[in-house]
Amino acid sequence: MSFGSIFGAWVTVFLTLAILSYLYKDNPFYKVAEHIYVGVSAAYWGTIAFWNQVWPNLFGRLWPHVNDPSTLSKFNQFWYKIYNGLHWFSHNVFPENGIPGNQQQNLWYIIAFFFGLFMLARLIPKISWLGRWSLAYVVGMAAGLRIYGFMSSNVIAQIHGSILPLWIINEKGAILYGQMINNLVLIVGTVTGLFYFFFSVEHKGILGKISRVGIYFLMISFGASFGFAVMGRISLLIGRFNKLIEYSHKQYGYATLILLVVMVLTLLILNFKKTEEVTE
């Protein structure tokens, strides 16, 4: 077992127990774990965003790797001179002669580059209004992008799914009452549920009663989702506990047991100290 894995097991166990200690109450262990988590994850996603988005999809499209820059067109020779500046800035991130990968050059991405830079203009109060342009792009894109998807899958597909026959006979001529009742439940539930979402009429009289039935269907749906969640969540907790049990073995230096005892003792002492302060 290498030092890396044993040390890793201890870190894993410490962080796991520290987060779990929150169930008792807010305490120094949780605070440490929470702050580490926030700091590490912010940098983690920043790193991932750079290497998976900006690097291949922006820089890779603006300056894809070329074997010999001198064979390029006049414009591109000048264009790659700009890249040389970036290369000078960091050899790790910007290797010589462009970004490796198999992207085609696509200079339209200069616009995306500028929108990105406009976002950073927020740091300079005088031109911070440029950031609004980037915000406008994002919002406009979101609105245009989502309308179709939601209209199609949330509205039209659901209407389509609700159009069901209430009179069903199979090939042998038998009437399928069971399936008919099921369909009726589906249709009534959907339509009355929709009534609940009527805003411009008062929910009184018959309308009120219909929307009431709709609420009952909504409640069944909430209850069912809740019941489902319970099952999946418990299975995950079992998985987590199994990991802790694994790390309590000798080959990991009894990490779980030792850290558990240390943390419980510390929490007890802290608790004791606090009650002392209060009584004094």
């Binding site: 169930l23 109450k25 999946g232 299975s235």
Partner: protein
């Protein structure tokens, strides 16, 4: 007594946390061995696999990752045990990138350690290919075009097991271990439906009701549903003398059942105390 009942309603939630932790943790260390009664769904899945003729090759697809490992991995182990005991040869594919690691672990445990089988003859791991349902569509036409080499970079034409396996049409049965997209649904839509190959699946509890209609309509031969389903399958292996002991899911079932029971008990106690309080309020 009524005072006690009322106070129960305002119980500190940390006691609930503690009880949940205990009822999940203790059965993992000290198993109770509560009986697991296989349900129809799981029995159907078991029979479907049991009925596969001995000389048919079976494709098992690992379409899950570490996050759902507690639920799906025990199914993988149980199904592989069942297939190898029957003498079926197994071809493995992965539609999820981390599925490859899951497949390696499962094969190491079952094929290598328990059954001591020969790689490339009794089983082969073709590994992961990106493309989701496009991979399934691809292998309905040709394996070599989509899997030129297996997960060990051996050319597929040099693998004895793949002799005569041109496309999915030469496969007798498909089993998808699925935690979402791509998974069982895609196997039904792009392989089982068009080619008419018998297909069965094991899925996470969250997915069950989404996949269930395919079982009802006969498009799927069976479904193993979440960790409880895996436990039932393990029990069926024991009942049929295929494997002597239950596996990880069965051992976790004590914890799962008791946790559910305790949560329901909490709800019942909460309601009793709620009624006690309301009764008192009415009196005054």
């Amino acid at each position: 007594m009524s005072k006690f009942l009322e106070n129960l309603g305002s119980i500190d939630r940390r006691y609930i946390f503690l009880i949940i932790a205990i009822v999940v943790f203790l059965p993992l260390i000290f198993p109770l061995g509560l009986p697991v009664e296989p349900t129809n769904l799981t029995i159907d899945s078991f029979n479907a696999i049991d009925k596969i003729p001995k000389d048919e090759k079976v494709l098992v697809s690992f379409d899950y990752g570490p996050s759902t490992k507690p639920e799906i991995h025990p199914m993988a182990i149980a199904v592989l045990r069942h297939l190898f005991t029957k003498g079926n040869r197994v071809i493995i594919t992965c539609l999820w990138p981390d599925g490859l690691f899951m497949a390696r672990q499962a094969l190491q445990q079952v094929a290598v350690e328990e059954f001591d089988l020969t790689y490339g003859v009794d089983y082969v791991n073709l590994g992961y290919r990106p493309g989701n349902e496009a991979v399934i569509k691809g292998i309905t036409r040709s394996f070599p075009a989509n899997f030129a080499v297996d997960s060990r970079a051996i050319k597929i034409k040099n693998i004895p097991l793949m002799n005569g396996v041109q496309s999915l049409k030469n496969i007798g049965f498909i089993f998808s271990l699925s935690a979402g997209y791509p998974g069982s649904k895609e196997w039904v839509q792009y392989a089982s439906d068009p080619l008419g190959i018998k297909t069965s699946t094991g899925v996470t509890s969250i997915q069950v009701n989404e996949i269930l209609p395919f079982v009802k309509s006969g498009q799927l031969q069976g479904i193993i549903a979440g960790m409880p389903g895996a436990a039932e399958y393990e029990q069926l292996l024991v009942n049929n003398d295929i494997h002597p002991v239950i596996g990880k899911a069965g051992k976790s079932m004590d914890a799962q059942s008791i946790a559910h029971l305790v949560i329901v008990l909490f709800i019942v106690i909460g309601n009793i105390s709620y009624f006690a309080k309301r009764k008192k309020e009415k009196k005054y």
